[in-house]
Structures are given as structure tokens and as C-alpha cells.
Subunit: 221 residues, 2 copies
Amino acid sequence: MKSDVKLLGAWPSPYVLRVRIALNMKSVDYEFHEERFPDKSPLLLKSNPIHKKIPVLIHKDKPLSESLIIVQYVDDVWSSASPILPSDPYDRAMARFWADYIDQTLYPTMKSIRGAADQEGKNRLIEEVREGLALLEDVFKSSSKGKGFYGGDQIGLLDIALGCFLGWLRVVETVNGVKLLNQTNTPELLKWADRFCAHAAVKDVMPETGRLVEFSKTLPK
Amino acid sequence: MKSDVKLLGAWPSPYVLRVRIALNMKSVDYEFHEERFPDKSPLLLKSNPIHKKIPVLIHKDKPLSESLIIVQYVDDVWSSASPILPSDPYDRAMARFWADYIDQTLYPTMKSIRGAADQEGKNRLIEEVREGLALLEDVFKSSSKGKGFYGGDQIGLLDIALGCFLGWLRVVETVNGVKLLNQTNTPELLKWADRFCAHAAVKDVMPETGRLVEFSKTLPK
């Protein structure tokens, strides 16, 4: 039977990874359509005419875009297995708040390290990322309640929102010879990162760091 | 009895307006704490240390920020009256998608008209806003299903997300002598805007255009 779930994506994209993890959490079979960067397939342009960006999830011929919106949709539609959003309204709002912080502040800062004008600029941005991760270490301590993930026993929205960037975080660490997650600032997140990458829903879709490093060399500054 | 709901805000803020409308939809009593621009109260700094921005909703002493996240929280907590999010998962995802489009693309463009270097730049931005509103006219036609609001019979997430900017849209129209919502491009939205502003949950909190125009003169370019 042809799957009624298609995902338009590309292997290095952290945003696409979010959707793959969410679908794996729910044991949903899907067809993966690899977009060839920098080209955009006619199906992508038709399915996301506003932003023309991956990921796009097509479910029963209806397209959806924006990774966090798709993850919430996946949680809504396949609601019986492995809840991704916290059940408590306040916890849910806080997960959304920090996911938004990661997308609007933390990741843009991490991404900008590469294009910094000089070493001083790079160092300042690296420090900003470390401060952001230290905040997320505190959030982890309060929201995991002594368990393995932001979502408690299982991966939740915030695990997915932050975890999808671990591959690229390791690229930044490798290329710059620094440790962004470390024993001093983020001891809990350091262990969380290993647990997250080893999780059954993650391990087969998390891109290998060496391959991402090679890919990053092909990107414009 | 002292209310267990406080809202930190300021009358000209469209983002604060979203929360007021959501609370009105749910008939929730709340204390309104007016922040005096450009100062920030100690309570605001303590409640939103990350962004230091309004709106902040404090419910049972727990603070929340980011307007769309607060609106969804209000809908989750006071779930029995007037649903704000659509019940269908796909409709819910699309409402979130367009609300995000308004915040990330449409409103920043509208806001930048003021600071444009010359008339040509202003005209280009005005045209972009018109194109965005024409998209939202199409969304209205499909999601309202012949009824008065994006949410159908009642105000929903997308009504609140777009409607909160109507005051500022009218400021841009007044100051620049243009019509952003008009009979040619957006006949349905033109009628929707009147219905929205006249709605019981909106009419007493929507700022008066003339007052916003005066306020806008005090803002830096």
C-alpha cells in the first residue's frame, strides 16, 4: 500500500530531523523525498509556496510546513502513542516557549559563528551559545523531574526542538575546537545528549557528525 | 477576592491586545498592570527575564510570555468556553502556520514602512503588505466557510493573530494616505475587520486609531 504520509526533506536539515523523530516516536511509516540542495522540487514549490522550505509533511495529500507546527500536528493526529506535548497546560506553554527560544535565539546565534568577522566575534558568539545552553540546563533540571528527558521518561517537544541541533552543535565544536556542551556548564545536558542520540526514534536518523562537517564545507559563508 | 490572573501590558501593544481578547473570549477576570514605555517594571523583569517583553500573563503566580503561546494557554486552561484553536488537527496547524506568517513576515514588513529610506522604498513595502493581506483574504475565504470569522461563527486564533494589528494597520493607512485593506484586493477582510472590531471581546480593548497615531509620533524611527 502506498503510504499516505510523505516527508519532503534533506538529510542535513535539523528541522527535517524534528519531523522524522516525531514520526518515529509514533511508529508512522512515511515516504521520504530527499530534496537536492540548492534545487527545489516542483512538489516542494507547490506544497510550500509561501516559504519554499523544507520540511513539508504531506498527509492524505494535504501539505503542512514549519517543523514545530508539523511536530504538534503529528502529536495531534497520532495521539494514542508516546505523547510529545506535555499534558499540563503550563508545562505545554513552557515547552513551546523554550522551543521558540531555541529557534529564534540560540540556533541563529550558533549558526552565525561561522560567518563571524574575526576570532573575537566568534568567541563572543560561542560564549552566547554557552549561556543559552546553561539556561536550557536549568530548564532540563526542572522539567525532567529526575528522569532522562525534558519530556520525563520519554522524548517530548523540547527534546526534539533542541536535540535536532546536536549534529550541528558537534560540527561547531569540531570546526572551532571548543566544547559547547561540557562538564562544567552543562553536565546534565551532556548526558542527555548521549541518551537522546541513542534513543530508538533518533539513532537511525541523526546525521553523522563527520558527514555534516564535510557538508558544511560546501555551504556559502 | 484578588484575581489569580494578572496581565503585564501596555495599551498600544498589539501583542498584549491578543491576550486581552483571549481572556475576554473566556470571560476571565484579570488585573491589568500597565507598563510605562520605555521603562520596565521589576515585576516584568522578574517574570520574563529572557526577553524582558510584554505581554506577560501571571496565572496562579506562574508567569508566561509570548503572545501566541499565552493565547493557546488561555484556550487550554479555560477550555469549556469559546474554543480559540480549531478542533481539527489540520485546521489547527494551518491557523498556527498563518499566525506565524503574520508575526514573522507580514507585521515586520508593515512595521518597516515607517523607517523606509525614501518614498520608493515605502511604496515597495506597502505593496508587499497588500500582497500578504491578499493571501490572508484567500485563507479567510477557505477557513471561514461562509461565516464571519477565520474561526467560523466565533473568533479563533487567526482572527486574534491578525485582528490585533488592525489598529496599527489603520495608523499606517492614515499616516501614508493609503488603503491597505480595500474593496479591490481584500473585500472580505474589509468586512471582517469591521466585524472583528465590533465583537464583544474586542470593542472595549481595541485602541482608538487617533490615539495610536499620536503615540506613534513619540516613537523612534
